[in-house]
Subunit: 347 residues, 2 copies
Amino acid sequence: MSIVARNKNSKPRVTVKDLARDLGMSVSTVSRAFHADAVIAKDTRDVVLNRAREIGYSPNPFARSLITKKTRIVGVVVADITNPFYPEVLTRLTTELRAIDMNVMLVAADQSGEVDQALRLLLNYQPDLAIILAATLSSEAAQECRKAGTPVIFFNRLSADDHAFGISCDNILGGRSIADYLVDTGHRRLAYIAALADASTNVARHRGFSERAVERGLAAPVVIEAGQFSYHAGYEAARKLRDLKEMPDGVFCANDILAIGFLDGVRRELGLGVPDDISIVGFDDIEMAHWPSHGLTTVQQPIEKMLEATVSLAKELGTNAGKEPVVQMIPPGSVIERATTRRRHHG
Amino acid sequence: MSIVARNKNSKPRVTVKDLARDLGMSVSTVSRAFHADAVIAKDTRDVVLNRAREIGYSPNPFARSLITKKTRIVGVVVADITNPFYPEVLTRLTTELRAIDMNVMLVAADQSGEVDQALRLLLNYQPDLAIILAATLSSEAAQECRKAGTPVIFFNRLSADDHAFGISCDNILGGRSIADYLVDTGHRRLAYIAALADASTNVARHRGFSERAVERGLAAPVVIEAGQFSYHAGYEAARKLRDLKEMPDGVFCANDILAIGFLDGVRRELGLGVPDDISIVGFDDIEMAHWPSHGLTTVQQPIEKMLEATVSLAKELGTNAGKEPVVQMIPPGSVIERATTRRRHHG
DNA sequence: CTGAAAGCGCTTACAG
DNA sequence: CTGAAAGCGCTTACAG
């Protein structure tokens, strides 16, 4: 009801000009103090930086990036947030990127078509880098990134597009070591519970598992399609065990959350004992896998190393934006044996 | 090894100037086409917008915000990511803010002191709004926001600072309705498993629960301090039941993830039957609460409405940045009865 | 080592 | 309704 609206609700921010005037220096000199590689007397820099702290000045990142064409923003697209693996990756990634002074602009994509859309929005902000978590891009969208000069990293996925970077666990190796583990512990009838059909993680884990099982002299594992990386999908997949001619004795589920759903399904819907009747192995080693109620045997994803690789790549791309895309495959940990598997003896 | 470094790895982006030249119009006119409330002939606007789409122009948000002082960025600080409640809130919030053309800049804070720090970093980007998920701010940090003209919303927390907005479930009411439920179903010895001592959610749920229990003629519920909103804390809290003089028959845990840990602990460490020996109620209704292996009786947080309120507040603050801070309390759903509680009969 | 000047890509009074 | 001009807060050749 007041006549004069208070439009200026904030004090105007202090700018280079203010600081320069305050110090009796030129704007250029003040500006240089904030760039590690600028030519400026050490004393001058110290004076500027100290005074800046006192009066609360820091350079406006927007004005800066208008000129430098660097935004220090990394656009992160996250899709499959229902998998507890990703919240952890997301927060740790955010934290570690902050440490190299990069900021995360987050876009969520519920459905797969939205990933393209999400990335386009992000591109408006001209991120120095885009990271795609748990999803892939259409090749058109990938090309748009290239046009915009934004490098793309696929995290935990391999992309069809070979102009993008990839950082992923070596899922074939992981699948193979699970096959070895199950064979070594006396399992003879293997099954694979498949998740998202076109996810590279799903495909590679299956492939490694299957190939190695055959190499070790077993029949190729039976496949049950769960369709998703989710608890619910795993639970439902357990029901499908009934349709099998022969009950498997060792089951590898595409990831932990799927395995946990499957585990619950096997116990509750089929009334089978785990590990007594059937052994179950997951992939990821999420926190829930340690819970006493599950005690899931699984393989650890090398998150630590994957994050390290991502951050150092981000850093490198900062100085060398033209770097040729490469895919880094990081070997997973070995099988962590818990309570969902046991050795089987044969007469 | 090439002699000329390819520094310009991206084609320069198309700017207003390019588009203006292309259309034979002034830069001003082109610019106006992108502002709904600008004075411009409808036909002109259509021509500009169409051509813009063709050549892939969209206004540089940085240059724009340099002038408008609006960034359309909302800074989100997330702390307690281990609670599965928050990933969902975060992604949905991101998605819904996108729908009103606002972008999320994410900062993660592992420890509580980091929240202040995180927010300060965010403030550099002059977000139009800051949303704090599952945490509070020191009053100094809150004041810095005020100085910078950035409104702050505490989501799912009440803040000590009364200059901030708050959007929260009515936790007192929630606590009360759980007390009513337990009393109505014949429970006589209540206990509360407390989480983070200074979290407003924890305090209010406890208070509502305790007050109502007394109103209904019971002794004040025994309190076991779990200290955290986490599975692990809940599991450990179950052990402490042993120290109690009398075993409670109805237990309210500060939230679902705590309740699930507690549930597992009660079953595995104490060998007690749930719900036969003891009833357990959580708070949140996270997805995991539906899982057949838990079937947790709980109260639903009104996420939908909380998000709605947040988004509409964000919208309103866009046109009226000086709005007086208010706290909105949204009533929770009623108790959802599942498999961790049962009616008790007394002789 | 420092300063004056141009310019990044926009928006917005101000004229017309 | 449209255009020319100023200016947002910076950085960076270019001189000195």
